[in-house]
């Protein structure tokens, strides 16, 4: 996904009253994160599970929150997602950078990248892949789910190698 769209996605959520953006950096999402840093709306913490805990606390306090992370960090957090976010029905939006989407991505991303769609499916976590053309519709969908207390995931594919 190109830089301009990533910046637009951040601004879209900000405009739609998402108050907090918390997570652990990911190169796939770097322009989204950079746009948030410029607005001083981003909180970067040590680990993804910790980020989800802080985000959950903010949502409990009535303040809407998006989490951003790489799929590796998302995988680290599965127990937190099932036993906190899904169990208590906390309406959180996950923005996930999908490493290992390209077959020739770095070797450490290969396995987790392969099982990423299945992981979301097995968790019963409703999700959409954001693209340059359809991102706005899918971001709107995520916000509507949030209002119904349903946590969801939005995925951005890593379509470049470095």
């Amino acid at each position: 996904m190109n830089e301009k769209i990533q910046r637009k996605i951040f601004q879209y959520f900000k405009k739609n009253r998402i108050e907090n953006f918390i997570g652990v950096p990911d190169s796939t999402l770097k322009h989204f994160i950079d746009e948030g840093l410029k607005s001083k709306k981003i909180l970067i913490v040590n680990r993804e599970e910790e980020a989800i805990g802080i985000g959950a606390g903010m949502i409990l306090a009535g303040s809407s929150t998006i989490m951003f992370m790489q799929n590796a960090g998302f995988a680290n957090s599965i127990s937190t997602i099932t036993s906190l976010i899904q169990l208590y029905q906390i309406p959180m939006i996950f923005l996930i950078g999908w490493r290992g989407y390209l077959k020739n991505d770095a070797p450490e991303h290969e396995k987790i990248g392969q099982i990423q769609p299945k992981l979301l499916k097995n968790l019963n976590l409703e999700n959409k892949i954001l693209t340059d053309k359809t991102w706005e519709k899918d971001c709107k969908w995520a916000l509507s789910k949030m209002k119904k207390n349903i946590p969801v995931a939005l995925v951005i594919r890593r379509e470049f190698l470095d």
């Binding site: 040590n46 599970e49 910790e50 805990g53 802080i54 959950a56 606390g57 409990l60 306090a61 169990l87």
Partner: protein, 183 residues
């Protein structure tokens, strides 16, 4: 002092405050000592009580937020001390009931007797108190109103066979009533 007695003492000073309690016996002890809508009882996601408490504290700066944590719990999420110490929420009181074991899973040892949780918290810029007796715990809680957080009270407790009963409220109800109560 056993953990349940220590929990009761803290509850006397936190009747009108928000409390986030760690999973396992700590949530059970809180539930039997002081049941109220502004308690968030965790039943899963071990290690995250302090992170959840931080999120609430940042968004509700006029309320006092207590976190009831254990040694096993905080050792699982030590990075949380770094984040709390960095963000300096003035309204956060982090209590660690330290029995040096994972009592909820059968009393297996933690590393809490090999290192100093208090020193780690000091290094991350908390205001730290380490207490062993009810009387000193009460004194610290009394003066906590006049101090800026983040405050960490490291309460050394002894293990015991005393068990509080399970929290029977559904997780969704715990969340819904909590959110309504702190609006």
């Amino acid at each position: 002092m056993i953990r349940k007695d220590a929990v009761e003492v803290v509850c006397k000073y936190a009747k009108n405050d928000v409390i986030v309690s760690a999973n396992g016996f700590i949530s059970r002890d809180l539930h039997s000592s002081l049941e109220k809508n502004t308690n968030f009882y965790m039943i899963g996601s071990m290690g995250l009580a302090s992170s959840i408490g931080l999120g609430i504290a940042l968004k509700k700066p006029k309320k006092r937020i207590f976190v009831f944590d254990g040694d096993g719990n905080i050792l699982m999420n030590l990075g949380s001390l770094v984040t709390i110490g960095s963000l300096q929420p003035k309204n956060l009181i982090h209590i660690i009931f330290d029995n040096k074991i994972h009592e909820s899973t059968g009393g297996q040892p933690t590393f809490a007797d090999k290192i100093s949780i208090s020193k780690i918290a000091k290094a991350t810029n908390y205001t730290v108190f380490s207490v062993k007796t009810k009387k000193i715990l009460e004194n610290v809680l009394k003066k906590s109103h006049r101090l800026n957080g983040p405050i960490l009270i490291h309460v050394l407790v002894t293990k015991s066979k005393e068990r509080s009963s399970r929290v029977e409220i559904s997780p969704k109800k715990i969340k819904d009533r909590f959110m309504n109560a702190i609006k």
